[in-house]
Amino acid sequence: MTQVAAQPAMSKRRKSLWHKLLRNPVAVLPALLLGVAVILALAAPLLVPHNPDLPDLAHRLLPPGSPGYGLGTDSLGRDILSRVLYGARVSLAVGGAAVIGAGVIGVLAGLVSGYFGGVVDDVIMRIADVQLSVPFLLLALVVIAAVGPSLPNLVFILILRNWVTYARIVRSQVLELRTLTYVEAARAIGETDGRILVKHILPQVWGSVIAITSFTMAEAMIAEASLSFLGAGVQPPTATWGSMLKENLLYLATGWWTVVFPAIALTVVILSLNILGDWLRDALDPTLQR
């Protein structure tokens, strides 16, 4: 963690990050796939051939390649392609909202905890400990049983789950940054704590924050899918990749396509996020271990 002392200008680093990305095929492919997934999700209403939630019993369990139903239909005659595309909207939006919320709370908590130390630090870190000592899925199921399954509740739980990751990593970096000469110098010339945090410390932790965001989004999407799969996530008829697997599990023998396509979509996006995260970590913060 010695290279943090160099403090390169942010804009320059960003630019070179783009250049690095474009030169690295291992990172370009997942970045491209994610870009395509986001565009498809945003454009889903323009692209889908059928209403994703409307049952059509005349066209039940059509195999892939049927005219008008490229990826086939499910047991209620709903178009799989349309549902996979609409599922992308929910899955990506939930994952995105979860990392933004967890990131904001976690980075703030980490900055405050690491910079000020003392009682604040103790309290924040003990809360994190308690949370890590309960298996997440069980916690999520209990909370959802209590407050009811809904999209906002789901996002809330995913934020609850993931802020700890940000807080711990940011805190450990701030603990070191705090003692560096330029931070002490800033303090000596009378800069306020808030200013020091924003101007001198935040830019230094940014790299790790971006890298863990990629991993965390993957984890959040897996968690959303798992909860939806267990029936505690997004409720029917809304399609998400996890809920599609749940509702079609019974038709595994007669209609593999109802399960396989959402499974592929989910796996490809999560794989892309993980590979991109690996690359970002190497590019931005070699000290960060997973």
Binding site: D129, V130, P135, A225, F229, G242, A263, T267, I270, L273
Partner: protein, 310 residues
């Protein structure tokens, strides 16, 4: 060591106390369980009576004290759905879960550690890339996706293994494999990194220079020193496996505590949910203490009871 253990146990108690407050509050948040006891044509007087019987008319802190003192005596209330003590239901289901989680745990270590060492020794070659690719995929396939795909192939298509249920070793294969994949991918990656790390150290090159055989260098010098991070991550993964059983047991109809949790939630059986949450949290805390102790045994240089990440 004694002082360190005492400190960790005290810390664990604080964590468990916080967990029980959280569990208690969430259960109260979930609404009035009286409705479960009352029929459609009950009067307000009935409601008051049920409240009194359940103790819900007392102040919150009194209710918590009753809950906590019961918990300390191992009494976590009666199941609403099945007329049995809640803790008993959890304990009845525990062996099945332990069987599944431990099988997956052993499986992931037996596969992951050799795979990680193998990849590290062939750094940059095809074998290394193969392991990297498989582990990347392994970390990205959600447990339930893998489970469903395995059922589709091995049960539905090839009729080799039963799709669900329990009883014989054949029933154990698919759930254990799908549960193990994520952990083994993680452990394999970490083993690879740790071994690469150690391989670059001077004493390893000294050993190689002295003419020690490759096998001896790896097993004696490298693995012993790479063991620390591997044990840590393996311990953490054991906890993750206990969490992962919820999904795995649901897919494969495995009669463990994971499925119990789902059933209890479906029946709004709060005492069972509370009992399970508390029980599993205790197991988590206990495993974490064990990991930390292993740490100390493996590396005596670690400062006991020091500040920071205890």
């Amino acid at each position: 060591m004694g002082r360190y253990v005492a400190k960790r146990l005290l810390h664990a108690l604080v964590v468990l106390l916080a967990v029980s407050v959280a569990v208690f509050l969430v259960a109260r948040l979930s609404g009035d369980p009286s409705a479960l006891f009352l029929g459609d044509n009950s009067t307000p007087a009935d409601l008051v009576r049920v409240h009194h019987i359940l103790g819900l008319d007392r102040p919150l802190y009194v209710q918590f004290w009753i809950f906590l003192s019961g918990a300390l005596r191992g009494d976590l209330g009666q199941s609403i759905w099945q007329a049995q003590p809640a803790l008993q239901l959890v304990l009845d289901r525990l062996p099945a879960t332990l069987q599944l989680a431990l099988t997956a745990f052993v499986l992931s270590i037996v596969v992951a550690v050799p795979a990680g060492v193998f990849a590290a020794l062939r750094r940059g070659k095809a074998g290394d890339w193969g392991v990297i690719a498989v582990t990347a995929l392994g970390q990205s396939i959600p447990v339930f996706v893998l489970g469903v795909v395995l059922v589709l192939l091995f049960a539905v298509r090839w009729h080799l293994l039963p799709p669900s249920g329990s009883g014989t070793w054949k029933h154990l294969v698919l759930p254990a494999v799908s549960l193990a994949l994520f952990s083994s991918a993680k452990i394999a990656r970490l083993t690879r990194t740790s071994v690469l790390d150690i391989l670059g150290k001077e004493y390893v090159r000294t050993a190689q220079g002295k003419g020690a055989g490759q096998r001896r260098v790896v097993w004696v010098h490298v693995l012993r020193n790479a063991a620390l991070p591997i044990v840590t991550i393996a311990g953490l993964e054991l906890g993750a496996l206990l969490s992962g059983v919820v999904v795995t047991e649901t897919i494969f109809g495995w009669p463990g505590i994971g499925r119990l949790a789902i059933e209890a939630i479906a029946h709004r059986d709060y005492p069972v949910i509370q009992a399970e949450a508390l029980f599993v949290a205790s197991m988590f805390v206990f495993i974490n203490i064990l990991i930390d102790m292993t740490y100390v045994v493996l590396n005596p240089r670690i400062r006991l009871g020091g500040e920071g990440e205890a």
